[in-house]
Symmetry: C2
């Protein structure tokens, strides 16, 4: 009985069949070395814990640039350099706060300015609140919106399995709510935080102002506050909100993206880019957004380096500056790429967190897809072989017109927006092995790209 | 520019193509209702937070049985009942502790008794420590093991992607270490905790004693303590350990598994079982092991019920008692099933945590596999279509000889052993949406089984 129990215990958790994989020799070493070293987590710790928040133009962002360059040099990458860009320089300031007032009594409201918002006057703004659920509804308020604080409260749709899709279906309120409400004469907007979690942390994020419309202050409130405010309004209460925002936009600042590579041994002028963004919002510590993407790419290249492998095509890590509120790093990189004699055959972005990878979203031609689909088998041993149509990311999108196939790492995404852009975006939410598996996924894919290239414009160029 | 930025922001996260799914009508409602209600988490909160730890024979286990029966009745399940079983009744006692002694100074050692261990004398055991890495090494110590505390320190293999496989490769030390060391005259064993995390929480778990070998006390120490102890020994230090365990085995106790079902409308005698185990180890609160499995099954059946669907075959939830240290619930259920005129066509177990589901491990005949493979498409919308060869679980394994196809839910598994059997197994590690997706996976699979059945012995019986 003792022996049987022992056998059952041992076999129960290890029954999955091992099958021979055609890419065994080029995937297994990456997996074993990665999971043994877990170096991605050590890198993330330096970036997210050591440096912390790094909004474009901030001291943290400047430190991150210095760190990334030094780290890439220490890792032995080639041609390590900065690619300068001018970035928007928005600062939150000190002492933003607010409250809601019912029957003359004020209670605290958990809020934060949205990135890019104008401040309130120093005495704040106090006004009646009116709840809406779309930009169109805000624009149609007309007289009823005049002098009001408009409260956008359409939640992310919880019935979407893909949380990114739920985010995409709600985020217009955050980005465009202020100008929509201003058209009806509103004096400020509150926006329900972009998260599926119900808690008391406000989530910031970018917003913009349309031309020829007054710029009014915009803040996110926590989902718990949104639920509470909405319940009061539904109960027929007159609710005033007092809002004080201390943020301001300073002149554009000097910053840079950080680049390092291993030059291809056979086709150095065919480039595969992989990266994430180095900047982050200010409320958390930019762990999952997007410290994990940065270290995914750094560790992927470093893994290949540590194994002593020589890529045939150039593998380049780009840590983009200013994804969150401007995309200036992406633009300056794409401009440089356009002028370059090198050919960008593919770009891989990781900007959806450091959770266990499921696969990649892929934007490619049918010819390219035929080759890429074969590579799924290389990703099967880490359960990351789910290749879906459409993908890329904000930082690599501008490389599509240059003929690059685009890949966006797709980690399990249920927890991502719980942390995104809030004080919860800290390293304790990241599991070292899940993070490393993401880096291994990038290493496997980029290695296949470097070995085999992709059909399309790149092969035409080759023949010239 | 404002409009373009808005469009980019909205589309960037929602680009994945939607494709028509042949199972759309029977999966989409489960997904939408599940993700809207998130009821699995509410159930888990009652079980894990409300009741807490529930080791077989404990007051918590008895409360869990009462709770589960009442809850199934409240959910409207049919034929809700208890299936009695006698369970081992091991108790930890109060005040277990230990320390390691170098140069006469003692420092605290983070440890816990392994489940089933005998106690130490009340004054404890103090002896020199010797480190080994396998059962064979312990058995071969001979004279060198005499009077020693043998320390098993072979880590789970971090290079395995599948953490269950890593567990399976190390857990013999926990289960069989005491008897292996006792053969060489050891007086007690310490076992490195079965986790890939390096931290200070000891992880308990079952152990057993071989016949005709002295029964010596067995404790797990945290991985941090194991690393430290090993470093001291490698440095040539003589290290003594003092160990006091207060545990004891009481006479077997009365307990029960809890069963509820929806009777099949067309083939009530064909049964599909789904479940997890109601008992848990005592150190945490049995959240991921296996509160999540229990509520996966309860919520799956409740979802089908809430949608008003009538399964053709009987869908039965079984919450097994005593998986952790005896399997008595599984045995009594299999015995009953063997005698029953009903036919168990399939059994689904969830005992690998409440993380985002990737798919199922499947043990089935080639004929059955052909049908099951088609159903992967029904699981694609929740990214849970990874069907791998081999699977089931300790509680449903005994149903295989009755002809049941076995399914084991396979969630992402990187975090599971970080919490497993330790004080970390609490509900804050569970994401409500990931948990619900597991329940939806069970609902989708069990619905397909109830609609289509499986080829094999079940169809032969039908013809009779």
């Amino acid at each position: 009985l003792f022996t049987i129990a022992l056998l059952l215990l041992v076999s129960g958790h290890s029954a999955r069949a091992q099958q021979k994989n055609p890419y065994e020799n080029t995937t297994r070493p990456l997996i074993e070395r990665g999971l043994k070293d877990l170096s991605a987590y050590a890198l993330l710790s330096e970036l997210s814990e050591g440096i912390g928040p790094r909004l474009s133009g901030s001291e943290g962002a400047a430190k991150a640039v210095v760190w990334a360059k030094a780290k890439m040099e220490a890792l032995g990458f080639q041609n390590v350099r900065l690619l300068p860009c001018k970035v928007p320089h928005w600062v939150r300031g000190e002492g933003e706060n607010g409250g809601y007032i019912v029957d003359g009594r004020e209670q605290s409201l958990s809020l934060c300015a949205l990135g890019g918002s104008v401040p309130t006057p120093s005495e704040g703004i106090t006004a009646d609140v009116i709840e809406v659920h779309s930009l169109a509804e805000a624009e149609k308020l007309g007289e009823r919106g005049k002098g009001k604080i408009v409260f956008f409260n359409r939640p992310m749709d919880p019935t979407k399995v893909n949380t990114g899709e739920a985010y995409g279906g709600a985020v217009e309120q955050r980005f465009g709510g202020a100008s929509a409400a201003a058209k009806s004469g509103a004096v400020a907007v509150l926006v329900r935080s972009m998260t599926l979690a119900i808690d008391d942390a406000p989530h910031t994020g970018s917003m913009g102002y349309a031309d020829r419309v007054p710029k009014i202050p915009a803040a996110a409130i926590s989902t718990l506050a949104a639920e509470h405010l909405s319940a009061l309004l539904k109960a027929g209460q007159t609710v005033k909100v007092r809002l004080k925002l201390t943020c301001q936009s300073l002149p554009d600042a000097d910053s840079a993206s950080v680049i390092g590579e291993i030059v291809g041994s056979e086709k150095p002028n065919e480039v595969i880019v992989m990266g994430g963004h180095l900047d982050s919002w200010d409320l958390g510590r930019g762990a999952n957004d997007d410290g994990t993407g940065c270290v995914h790419a750094m560790e992927a290249l470093s893994l290949i380096q540590r194994l002593g492998w020589k890529p045939k095509r150039t593998l380049r890590v780009v840590l983009f500056m200013n994804e969150e509120n401007g995309g200036r790093g992406a633009m300056s990189y794409a401009e440089e790429a356009k002028k370059s004699s090198q050919k960008h055959i593919a770009a891989i972005e990781s900007d959806d967190g450091g959770f266990a990878p499921m696969g990649f979203g892929v934007t490619a031609t049918p010819d390219q897809w035929r080759r890429i689909r074969r590579w799924a088998k290389a990703l099967t041993p880490i359960n990351a072989d789910r290749l879906t149509e459409g993908g890329g990311g904000a930082d690599i999108g501008p490389l599509a017109p240059l003929g690059a196939a685009l890949f966006g790492l797709a980690p399990t995404d249920q927890r991502y927006f719980d942390y995104h852009h809030s004080r919860h975006d800290t390293i304790d939410k990241v599991n070292p092995r899940e993070l490393e598996l993401g880096a291994i996924a990038l290493a496997i894919l980029s290695w296949r790209l470097s070995e085999e290239g992709l059909p399309g414009k790149s092969e035409t160029m080759q023949k010239q």
